[in-house]
Amino acid sequence: MAFNTTRRAMLAGSGAAVALTQAPGAHAQSTGAGGGTPPSSMPVSFTVNGTAAELELDTRVTLLDALREHLELTGTKKGCDHGQCGACTVMVNGTRINSCLSLAVQHQGDEITTIEGLGTPEDLHPMQAAFVKHDGYQCGYCTPGQICSAVATLAEIRAGIPSHVQGDITAAPVFNAAELRERMSGNICRCGAYSNIVEAITEVANSDLGAA
């Protein structure tokens, strides 16, 4: 690496070096972004919606971009790429995450569920059907993230994971609108469908409880 480089290039180069030390399987080909040599890549395999995916990826590729650009599963949305909007929410081993905040190569062996794995237009998941019934969306762009988050939220409440709005965090959390609003607040809907989204999730929660 040249020493008369810019601070930005230095930071980018440092980032690449860190990725290398943490990824012994990486195909180390470069120490800096400006050197004209290809970036580091490494293989990664995980399952997406039950289907095995084996990819050779630039180590900088986020899980979000692996899904959208490499596997062409564009149901998971990119709203901010910075973990600020929630549009990219997917479930990894049953836990929801912002897929933009996670590098794809971190997910070796993981089981990933995206919106495409919940249902199809012909065979909607109950949460998807409830969003349609209650008009829990408008432009539709945050919607896959809202739905993945909603499915995971109900699982989190069932699993007894506490939230900020509980009076007593040692008690089992309950299903109510305040809990849903708190737990869903990482998913921004700029169209403002919140009131309907809560109704959609409540319907699914109640039918789940009824079935239990």
Binding site: A12, G36, G75, G79, C80, I115, E116, E122, R190
Partner: protein, 742 residues
């Protein structure tokens, strides 16, 4: 079809599909992630390279040197287009600064280079290697300093009069405001400020551009296809027939995607340079400064009234700024219409600012105008000792529109909105004494505001194709930005042709289709359905000519046609195509076509911390025939959410030293989240407006943001006794004034 007089009785008065709550027909696609948005079109451009835009790091000045050599050598780089190497592109509609080209920098984060690489990561990394030197020049970044007379006493002396009467900036006077105000026994004189705001739609501006010889296709995210097709031709200096836009799904716009933006221009230039399709999404931190925003305003309102609350003098003056010093935020837009009063003054003054360009955001003008006028009305209610609902009823105009002589209301039911809303909301339980209601640690208050938003119409066309199997395909370049266009267009076609909804297929957003009104100004729903109706009427007549009946007297229902004692299957004439549009005649100019609402809010303010929580919201809307009460309600609740954001949290913070919006992402620019919004209630009055369209419908998508913010502000005053006139109403502005906690 020419719409030259108010609609008479027609098939929509006995509608079977229109007016019924109908889940969106695009719902299964949107909820499964299978609706394709602009950046996701692997189907049309599988070999697209990735573009990444570099934004200017200064607000005003010149690029003295740009070194792209290192970036060009970076892995995967296919092409770089540097602004200093390209002549400034032309300006399309709504563009104040050129979107690309040249060495001059007009605003912060203006696009100055685009890097194309094989992957997104490579393009992003290479863009960071471009080195730019600037000559920075001073600019005007502070509205309060650029408009030093804002709120000043001398603004009613006639200064600025005598200009172009059509200009936004020319004061409009009726009667003698100054004398009437001086003589009024009760006065309110208050100045309010609203900040710059960002549309913050969740889908970033995004485009895939591909050239086939001279022909350019843009798979993009755009609200106004026909405008933007012609703008794109102008921007690039190419023939309009060589441009095609395709925007079947749009992840929110709110005005931000009315006009062509840098993503489309840079993708087109870069695709030309790269010799292959290029896809670009504006990175989130670029959007607030690169694209447009709602302008900040300073608004002064003076109300003079009798002790009975009747307004005798009303003045609303608004100051805003923009790069061109001309196109501002006209906060006075509702003031000529809402209330009576013989002596009036409105003025909207625009000054030059070197901030990023201001432009339309949902209900431009009225959205922030209500934050001033409807709080001033609350102040007048208190000054007269009247109930805020009763004060508004006392100022209901009779006859002509008071601020627009010679203009009549086409349809106005504001008093019903307010009285029925008050009843439903439990307004009678409101304690008029501020700070008097406690619920544990919470100070509780209620507020009301009236709402008005104009309901303009725009010509709109469509093509309808009846296939041999009886499926009806509607094609129009109308867009659905979350508004529900797909569904209401399908409902309109189903109603007119007598088909069930599932026998109608709607295709939108392609400039190859007939030009529609597009999604803007709250005109989309009413205008585009009227255009689809016109096309369907043409199809009915065509079928009538084939089968030998007078289509306008026939009944189309349940897949059959009945004329007199004769009857046919709809498909008896075989496959047929018709195209037509609606054009609105001058007779509408004699009317103020508007929509009205009564907005109510209840808030609780934490007596210890000052945190404000909205407990309840209600809107009672008067907006003509509601085509789909389900999606219309969503439009209104969504607008109420955005209004809550404007009242309580949204603000692009200006760095007045360097001329940029500092909080240019979704972490820094706070919008309402789930926890901020309670259950919301919306009521639509059962009204129709025959002056508007054959369907007697008007828009609702912007009405919902006109008033709720003021209702919230008034509720905070009722809860706390503190009047904050500087939006957003964040707790730092009133925490030290909260009542003593016992």
């Amino acid at each position: 079809m020419d719409f030259n007089q108010p609609a008479g009785t027609n098939l929509f008065d006995n509608a079977r599909v229109i007016g019924k709550p109908t889940p969106r027909i695009d719902g299964p696609l949107k909820t499964t992630g299978t609706a394709p948005y602009a950046y996701e079109r692997h189907d049309v451009a599988p070999d697209a390279a990735y573009g990444y835009i570099l934004g200017a790091a200064i607000a005003k000045g010149r690029i003295s040197a740009m070194n792209v050599a290192e970036a060009r050598r970076a892995p995967g780089v296919v092409a770089i287009v540097a602004a200093p190497d390209v002549a400034p592109v032309g300006k399309g509609m709504g563009n104040v600064a050129p979107l690309f080209g040249g060495s001059d920098v007009a605003h912060y984060h203006q696009a100055i280079a685009v890097v194309v690489a094989e992957t997104f990561e490579q393009a992003r990394a290479a863009a960071a290697l471009i080195r730019v030197d600037y000559d920075r020049t001073p600019g005007a970044f502070d509205l309060a300093r650029a408009a030093p007379h804002a709120g000043a006493e001398e603004q009613d002396d006639g200064a600025g009069d005598g200009g172009d009467p059509q200009s936004q900036q020319t004061p409009k006077r009726i009667g003698d405001f100054a004398d009437a105000f001086a003589a009024a026994p009760v006065k309110v004189d208050a100045t309010y400020t609203t900040p710059d705001e960002s549309h913050a739609m969740i889908e970033p501006h995004a485009t895939i551009a591909g050239w086939d010889g001279d022909k350019l296709t843009l798979w993009t995210s755009n609200q106004m296809i026909a405008w933007s097709k012609s703008s794109m031709a102008k921007i690039l200096g190419i023939a309009e027939e060589n441009v095609r836009l395709d925007s079947p799904y749009i992840g929110g716009g709110f005005g931000s995607k009315l006009f062509v933006r840098a993503d489309a221009v840079c993708a087109a230039l870069a695709a030309k340079e790269a010799g292959r399709p290029v896809k670009i999404a504006l990175q989130r931190p670029l959007i607030a400064n690169n694209t447009a925003h709602r302008h900040a305003t300073i608004q002064r309102i003076r109300l003079g009234a009798g002790r009975d609350g009747r307004i005798t003098a009303i003045a609303h003056e608004c100051w805003s700024g923009n790069l061109d010093g001309q196109s501002g935020e006209d906060g006075t837009a509702q003031t000529p219409v809402l209330y009576a009063g013989a002596n009036r003054l409105v003025a909207s003054r625009v000054t030059h600012l070197d901030l990023p360009e201001g432009n339309a955001m949902r209900a431009p003008g009225e959205a922030v105008g209500h934050l001033a006028l409807e709080v001033a009305m609350d102040e007048l209610a208190e000054a007269t000792g009247m109930d805020p609902v009763a004060l508004r009823l006392a100022n209901e105009p009779t006859g002509e529109v008071p601020g627009k002589p010679g203009t009549r209301y086409s349809e106005r039911n504001l008093t019903r909105c307010l009285t029925e809303g008050a009843e439903r909301f439990g307004w009678a339980r409101r304690n008029a004494r501020p700070g008097a209601v406690r619920d544990g640690r919470w100070l509780v208050g209620m507020g009301v505001a009236a709402g008005y938003r104009g309901a303009p119409t725009q010509k709109s066309a469509a093509r309808v194709r009846l296939e041999a199997d009886g499926l009806l395909v509607v094609e129009t370049d109308m867009t659905d930005i979350g508004t529900g266009s797909y569904t209401i267009i399908a409902q309109t076609a189903a109603e007119t042709m007598g088909l069930p909804l599932d026998r109608v297929s709607v295709r939108l957003g392609d400039s190859a289709f007939p030009a529609a009104a597009g999604s803007g100004g709250q005109w989309g729903a009413a205008s585009s359905t009227a255009g689809v109706y016109a096309a369907c009427v043409a199809l009915r007549r065509k079928i009538g000519e084939q089968l030998g009946f007078a289509a306008d007297d026939a009944t189309f229902a349940d897949g059959r046609i009945t004329a007199g004692d004769r009857s046919w299957a709809l498909t008896d004439a075989g496959a047929q195509v018709a195209e037509d549009g609606i054009a609105f005649g001058d007779f509408q100019k004699g009317y103020d076509l508007g929509t009205y609402a009564g907005h109510f809010a209840e808030v609780a303010v934490d007596a210890f911390t000052g945190v404000t929580r909205i407990r309840r919201m209600l809107a009672v809307c008067d907006a003509g025939r509601i085509l789909n009460p389900m999606s219309a309600r969503s439009q209104v609740i969504g607008a109420m959410v955005m209004a809550a954001g404007g009242a309580l949290m949204e603000e692009l913070v200006v760095d007045t030293r360097f001329g940029l919006f500092v909080n240019h992402d979704l972490a820094g620019y706070e919008v309402p989240v789930h926890l901020d919004i309670p259950h919301q209630e919306v009521v639509f009055l059962d009204t129709v407006d025959p002056v508007s369209t054959p369907l007697k419908a008007k828009g609702v998508g912007e009405l919902g943001i006109c008033g709720p913010g003021a209702a919230i502000a008034n509720a905070i005053y009722n809860a706390t006794g503190i009047r904050v006139r500087e939006y957003p109403l964040t707790l730092d502005k009133y925490l030290d004034q909260l009542p003593q906690v016992a």
